[in-house]
Point group: C2
Chain length 171, copies 2
Amino acid sequence: MPKRLLIDMDGVLADTYLQFFRLEATVTGKQVLHNDIIGLAEGDAFPNYKKYIHNDGFFRDAPVIDDAVEVMEKLNKIYEIFIVSSAMEFPNSLREKYDWLQEHFPFLHWKQIILCGSKIPVQGDILIDDHFKNLDPFQGKTLLFTQPHNMGRDNGHYRVDNWREIEGVLL
Amino acid sequence: MPKRLLIDMDGVLADTYLQFFRLEATVTGKQVLHNDIIGLAEGDAFPNYKKYIHNDGFFRDAPVIDDAVEVMEKLNKIYEIFIVSSAMEFPNSLREKYDWLQEHFPFLHWKQIILCGSKIPVQGDILIDDHFKNLDPFQGKTLLFTQPHNMGRDNGHYRVDNWREIEGVLL
């Protein structure tokens, strides 16, 4: 039986940080630098981040993180994959996330998508996520995907910086 | 620690059969009777049912099943409740289901909502559902909510006909 692999969306498949950088520059005229926000929660790095997230198109127009499509297509042949994304806090994101996955990951079936509030009841063998609140309570193997907010500590999770590293670990 | 109670939406909280009866009467001019469709899958009872489900408003305008609000409010104080609803096959339903829950069950937090394709990875202690495809593989206690399509067999699940019976079993 294939192992069940749960994969987060924002900050793992979708480059939401690039969206934050863009919106911050547009709205405030200020170019935030990657090095300025290391170790800061998203809300501290971008005080308006909840407003940004509620923008129409925030999720729909997010770029795909490098190499995610190619590695996901390979993983999808070997693992039982589910995309597990926190979306309920931002109900505008529900349809946008569905459409985004259809566009960029057309090889995923709709049965493989889970949009939730809390990820606690969703269980599997492996979880790839960038947030400790999801990784810490997970009972299987965990991969911590590097994003500025999680740099400087790992809480015992195995850190991966990009999709090529995930490929090396899981394939 | 409270027990985790997973609750299906269509056919358990939302009266989707009433929507089918209404649409069938409007579209075909034919009034389907409850007794005519006992034991029939939804697709056999209403050959156009997938078209109906894709109608804007199908989920948003569904009536609430009798006593569900009152009993759910009591259960929500004792159990860790998650609404687990298959929605991905009908992406128009995503926002409609969210808005419907906000309107009729305002005491539920967005963290308690899970919209999915397959329910397999979502685990808990108790599941209330009307479909065997969800109940049969579930590892905890199961309550089979009576709907025309599941009448005549129970696959070993405990059958409940209405929310007062659920109240009697779980409270």
